[in-house]
């Protein structure tokens, strides 16, 4: 077998079957995934379902702390988890650029399988296409996630009130900074790892709590985008306290060098929650007890004092946190 994927691996014939069997079925097999069938039967009874869709195009596809395979599981299950659902099933669309090596794809799918096992989800059906070199960027994934609605609250920004507290489950900006390091164009290196992980345990741990209003995973656009989303949806001011924001020194250094702020960097294993002030300390204590939750912190609050997203700086000054804008 050639060690590179060619267009023949997408033509529906023998090569394609081998690609599916030797890579995808090998790692992802489970009782619901039937590569012979065009559709999967999901054993669901008396459950409220939640569903989400996501696409993954990260470059580079391999980065410290994960790869596009683990990322596509984490991104999908996290969207369900923060919405109050325990993720169960994932469908997977794969678009491969001609020339990708089998070894790389195997590594990505193996990591994907490990992430799926850890998250307790099954990949129930999939589709594979190969596009000519130059028409893709190594490999793209699109997913649909399906989960069981479990939280007692229907999380919504509509529930948010002034004096509510804003929490984050861990350090800010690790994924975005790790990706920047992994992109060779900056000529930087370091030990920083992506935070890519599922946040199911963080979310599930508060599903029974009445005071939880809203949760979001601060991916693209970072925590600043979540805070702006809260501001725009509620009309209330958002006050964030820089001194309380957990940011690793390496992330701060990279940001200083490249002129970024950590609050705009993507996170792939964090959850932001808005909770009633009366349960904030309780949620914080629960989160700090969870694996990788040691840096969880209350980083801000909802306020009627102003109508903007305001950062109280470490020094004690105040300034606006502008809305994320990627001008390319």
């Amino acid at each position: 077998m050639s060690n590179k994927i060619t267009l023949s691996h997408g033509n529906g014939g023998k090569h394609m079957r081998r690609l599916i069997e030797d890579v995808f079925a090998k790692h992802l097999s489970n009782d619901l995934l039937n590569t012979e069938s065009d559709a999967a039967l999901l054993p669901i009874q008396n459950q409220q379902l939640m569903t989400t869709v996501d696409g993954f195009t990260v470059q580079p596809i391999l980065f410290p702390g994960g790869n596009i395979g683990s990322l596509c599981i984490h991104g999908t299950v996290n969207d369900l988890a923060v919405s109050g659902a325990i993720p169960k099933f994932i469908t997977l669309g794969v678009i491969i650029e001609e020339g990708l090596s089998f070894d790389t794809l195997d590594k990505v799918v193996k990591t994907m399988a490990e992430a799926a096992n850890e998250a307790g989800v099954k990949i129930v059906c999939g589709d594979t296409k190969v596009v000519p070199r130059g028409q893709g960027s190594e490999v793209y994934f699109t997913t649909t996630g399906i989960g069981y609605k479990t939280s007692v609250v229907d999380y919504s920004t509509k529930l948010i009130k002034p004096s509510d507290k804003i929490l984050i489950s861990g350090s800010i900006g690790d994924h975005g900074a790790a990706i920047m390091l992994a992109r060779e164009q900056f000529g930087l290196s370091g030990n920083l790892k992506s935070d890519s992980a599922n946040v199911i345990s963080f979310c599930q741990s508060v599903y029974e709590l009445e005071g939880v209003r809203f949760m979001r995973d601060p991916t693209r656009g970072g925590i600043a985008s979540v805070l702006h989303e809260l501001n725009q949806a509620t009309g209330y001011g958002i006050q964030m306290n820089e001194a309380d924001a957990p940011v690793h020194d390496e992330v701060t250094t990279i940001c200083d060098m490249l002129g970024y702020e950590p609050y705009y960097l993507a996170n792939e294993g964090r959850v932001v929650a808005v909770v009633d002030a009366s349960v904030a300390e309780q949620v914080l204590a629960i989160w700090k007890d969870i694996d990788h939750g040691e840096n969880a912190a209350i980083i801000g609050e909802v306020t009627e004092q102003h109508q903007q997203v305001v950062l109280q700086t470490e020094l004690g000054g105040e300034r606006i946190m502008h809305e994320f804008m990627n001008l390319g």
Binding site: Q185, F186, G187, D256, G259, E261, Q305, H306, Q307, Q308, V310, L311, Q312, T313, E314, L315, G316, G317, E318, R319, I320, H322, M325, L327
Partner: protein, 379 residues
């Protein structure tokens, strides 16, 4: 520790008994960012004003140079590379025409943003069959690496459209104008690293203005602010180096040698300001074969200098010279925003308008929207 030090300097500043208003200018976009990001303005006594001055190379890059880069990209079979910020600066042509390098790219020109001058070499080596034009605009700090690159030898197919500027002549021009508009100066950190702190001695010796060199941490900035305030109060002026970690006497001799070997210091145009004597870099005669201005000399168009000012209604020229604060421009936050910049100060990460828009270092942020703040200027 540095946070504690910063708080210590802040306390010392607040403990000073300042009899009168004092206006302190910075001349580095990085310094303005430090001030704004740390919210320093909101922590200082009312009578201390921090005004951004000529600290943004993109903002003062002559319009005719950007126009030239756009024309070369559109009409020659070249790859035009430039620092990312330059791609979005509009020139003064009608909206039907190509106004930015970004629009030139959308129209099919091969325009590529780079982050480091070294990328110019690799792009030239990867595209031996193409002419590569590197539009190198910047102050001493970015021009020095360009000089090093030239001194070490350029690929035959790489041409430099140099638009380098020196910082101190702009400050000298302000001081000699009779209305400098500031009482103390925070001198640039990185520029001093390259050129040496001595360049700024003239501000004290000739103009008797308190001066301190600052770094890019709040701690270093506050130490410099405290220093110039004390100098003013005590009447004892000296060039204070508050960025000793990297600013050393004499500066970076190697960088200076590269600049001397490859470039001449010439009288150059600053957008919205005009010609400042001995304020720019031009490629030396021996590199004429790589000088895009000479190789593509048919494109030079002196008539553009007459129309090459700031766009109508835009006060970038006043902002660059520290005559007004960004939010005193009528277009700030209304017609001119980062998504739809009119003047260059709203484009660049180093531009005062862009920095202010992103961090809103206003007196009070307890206001409903930014547009209402245009009337309520800081001064």
């Amino acid at each position: 520790m540095s946070l504690n030090n910063a708080k210590h300097w802040l306390q010392k500043i607040n403990d000073l008994e300042l009899p009168e208003k004092i206006k302190i200018m910075n001349v580095c976009g990085g310094h303005e960012r430090t001030i704004s990001n740390a919210g320093i303005r909101s922590l200082l006594p009312e009578n201390i004003e921090l005004i951004p001055g000529p600290g943004c190379p993109v903002c003062i890059c002559p319009e005719e140079d950007i126009f030239l880069a756009i024309q070369l990209a559109l009409n020659e079979d070249v790859i035009l590379i430039a620092f990312g910020d330059m791609l979005r600066v509009p020139v003064n042509v009608s909206k039907k025409e190509v106004r930015t390098l970004e629009q030139a790219r959308a129209n099919g020109a091969d325009v590529r943003p780079i982050a480091s001058p070294r990328e110019a070499i690799s792009i030239a080596n990867d595209n031996r069959d193409k002419k590569i034009i590197f539009f190198a605009a910047g102050f001493e700090t970015t021009t020095a690496p360009v000089a090093a690159m030239i001194a070490e030898g350029l690929p035959d197919n790489l041409f430099i459209l140099l638009s380098g500027r020196l910082t101190w002549p702009a400050v000298a021009m302000l001081l000699e104008s009779g209305e400098p508009g500031f009482d103390a100066l925070v001198a640039p950190g990185h520029v001093s690293t390259v050129m040496g702190p001595e360049e700024w001695q003239f501000v004290i010796d000739k103009h008797h203005i308190p001066t301190a060199i600052a770094g890019f941490e709040a701690e270093s900035m506050l130490a410099a602010l405290y220093s110039v305030l004390r100098q003013k109060l005590d009447g004892r002026l000296f060039l204070d180096n508050c960025y000793q970690e990297v600013v050393h006497d004499g500066g970076n001799k190697t960088a200076q040698r590269y600049l001397n070997e490859t470039m001449d210091v010439t009288d150059n145009n600053w957008r919205g300001i005009g010609i400042i004597p001995k304020s720019g870099f031009s490629l030396s005669q021996q590199y004429a074969a790589h000088d895009a201005r000479l190789v593509f000399k048919d494109y030079s168009d002196d008539s553009r200098r007459r129309i090459g000012e700031m766009p109508a209604g835009c006060d970038c020229a006043k902002v660059v010279l520290g005559k007004i604060y960004p939010d005193q421009c009528r277009l700030y936050g209304t017609a001119c925003q980062p998504e739809t910049p009119i003047g260059p100060c709203m484009v660049s990460d180093e531009g005062a308008c862009h920095i202010w828009w992103n961090t809103a270092p206003r007196k009070s942020i307890k206001q409903k929207s930014v547009s209402t703040q245009v009337e309520e200027s800081v001064v």
